[in-house]
């Protein structure tokens, strides 16, 4: 098995008195696509947000390539090579497409023109709309821009929070095929989804989260054929 990139041990996240994540542990190996699936409020987003440094975990440990990242600020986590494509895309609406990509490379001081080319090759639609304001793009294009912007930091691990949210099924298919392509080019992916079918088909490893805990794990294919998962998340 390949090297472990990210290790989450007994992670806990609290909002006031509410415990959103109640001791979650899992590993992400280099080169994998890993997915966390589960219903609303299962604690998936909170898990990703605390890895990205947006929430301070109340307990547990986050280790990335041997470094302890628990409770570090988002800037140093981006520097380490982790990026998060946030839920709802959150592109900068009054920046142009190109400026959005440049902001994605904010912490880099080297030449970024090759990476802009790379993102434009992955998403030719963005190249056509390079000078348009981010806010004028369609939902699918905004998702592409959010992914492209995240890639501009040259991450080792890209986390994605519900990339299929609010997108037409055809576009969701496109997005997932591009996720696979990005993974093939060497970026490890950790994604959370409510669209369990699509996520499990794409993922090497899957975890099922329920009310703040991981209740099941396995390869994508195993979980897809699991009766419990089928009943709860696949709607058949």
């Amino acid at each position: 098995m390949s090297e472990t990139l990210l290790t989450i041990e007994n992670l806990q996240v609290r909002y006031g008195g509410i415990e959103a994540v109640k001791g979650v542990s899992f590993d992400v190996h280099e080169g994998e696509i890993v997915t966390l699936i589960g219903a609303n409020g299962a604690g998936k987003s909170s898990t990703l947000r605390s890895i990205a440094g947006l929430e301070k975990p109340s307990g547990g440990k986050i280790t990335f390539r041997g470094d302890n990242l628990t409770g570090r600020d988002p800037t140093s986590i981006v520097k380490k090579g982790i990026t998060l494509v946030p839920e709802g895309r959150r592109i900068f609406a009054d920046l142009t497409v190109l400026e959005n990509l440049k902001v994605g490379a904010y912490l880099r001081n080297d030449d970024i023109s090759n990476d802009i080319q790379w993102v434009y090759e992955l998403f030719p639609r963005l190249k056509e709309r390079s000078w348009q304001l981010g806010g004028t793009l369609s939902g699918g294009e905004q998702q592409m821009l959010a992914v492209g912007r995240a890639l501009m930091s040259r991450p080792k691990l890209m986390m994605m929070d519900e990339p299929s949210l609010g997108l037409a099924p055809l576009i969701v298919k496109d997005i997932f095929s591009i996720i696979k392509e990005i993974n093939r080019q060497g970026v490890t992916i950790l994604l959370i989804e409510q669209n369990a079918n699509m996520a499990l088909k794409t993922a090497d490893t899957g975890y099922v989260m329920e009310t703040g805990r991981i209740t099941m794990s396995g390869t994508g294919a195993e979980l897809l054929s699991n009766e419990g998962v089928k009943a709860a998340y696949l709607g058949n």
Partner: protein, 294 residues
């Protein structure tokens, strides 16, 4: 005397005052753009810059006093943000606004303490304060320099925000704190940079303004501060070109009204304008474009 010669002094004064207002209004509009906060202390930072200059110029030669005044003004703006606004970053907006009002009164009362409530005579700056004759109209040279210097600074600022990495980061932070953090942007540094720029421009504005008015009192920041706030709202708060155009319009209108002999109403005009804008076009001339897409 021709009509041109009658009106020229008022027009010149209007453009000049407009330039001074523009420099102050930018501070309001930039801080609002990024924090959604009306920084009520901004007018008082402008007044404080005036007093700092008065005190420094008594002890130091002008070529040291002027840059030092600007540096201290910047430091004041930076400290206000760190002490009074940063701790309230996740508090409701109303709390931050009350904090801003508190800072405003604090600065005014400190100024009252130091000056004893007396008007302090602003030092004349050689060359800038000299009188010159333009097409038969007598005016101070500062009147001519102000609009040129203001426009130069505004263009430089707009280019900075359009083209540089920090400028793009400022626009990103103004849009979305959390997404900016995910890009690795340190939002506190960007917010500090905004206050530094706003205070620097207010400092330059105060040099030009007080050279024209000759004395500084603890409440000197009040009226110009309010008018520049109106200018920023008029232009569409959050927009820099808007604030500049709003400032020039208000400066020119005020002086034209004075020229018509209605000096008493020149301030009233500014605030009547505010009411009309809020009723007719609350987002101002260049108000925030809503490119939101759900």
């Amino acid at each position: 005397m021709s009509l041109f010669q009658t009106w020229l002094p008022y027009l010149l004064a209007g453009i000049s005052v407009g330039g001074q207002y523009a420099l102050i209004a930018i501070g309001y509009t930039m801080v609002y753009g990024i924090l959604r906060l009306i920084n009520f202390a901004h007018g008082d930072v402008f007044m404080a810059a005036g007093l700092i200059m008065v005190y420094l110029s008594t002890a130091l030669p002008l070529w040291i006093a002027i840059p030092l005044t600007l540096a201290l003004t910047v430091a004041l703006g930076f400290l206000i943000e760190r002490a009074a606004y940063k701790p309230l970053r996740s508090a409701p907006r109303m709390s931050v606004m009350i904090s801003a009002i508190g800072v405003s009164y604090l600065i005014q009362n400190c100024a009252l303490y130091f000056t004893g409530g007396l008007a302090k005579v602003y030092p004349p700056i050689p060359w800038i304060s000299d009188t010159v004759e333009v097409f038969g109209a007598i005016t101070k040279r500062v009147t001519l320099i102000t609009p040129i210097l203001s426009l130069f600074l505004v263009v430089a600022l707009v280019l900075f925000i359009k083209k540089t990495k920090v400028g793009i980061a400022m626009r990103a932070v103004a849009r979305d704190f959390e997404a900016s953090q995910l890009m690795g942007i340190k939002i506190n540094s960007v917010i500090s940079a905004t206050f530094v720029i706003g205070s620097l421009l207010a400092g330059v504005g105060s040099l030009l303004y007080f050279s024209n008015y000759a004395s500084v009192t603890p409440t000197s920041g009040g009226m110009p501060g309010l008018k520049c706030f109106v200018a920023a709202v008029f232009g569409g708060i959050g927009s820099i070109p808007g604030a500049v155009i709003g400032a020039f319009i208000i400066g020119i209108c005020e002086n034209v009204i004075k020229g018509l002999g209605w000096t008493t109403f020149s301030d009233a005009f500014t605030f009547a304008l505010l009411i009309v804008i809020l009723l007719v076009k609350p987002t101002g001339l260049f108000g925030e474009k809503s490119t939101d897409k759900v």
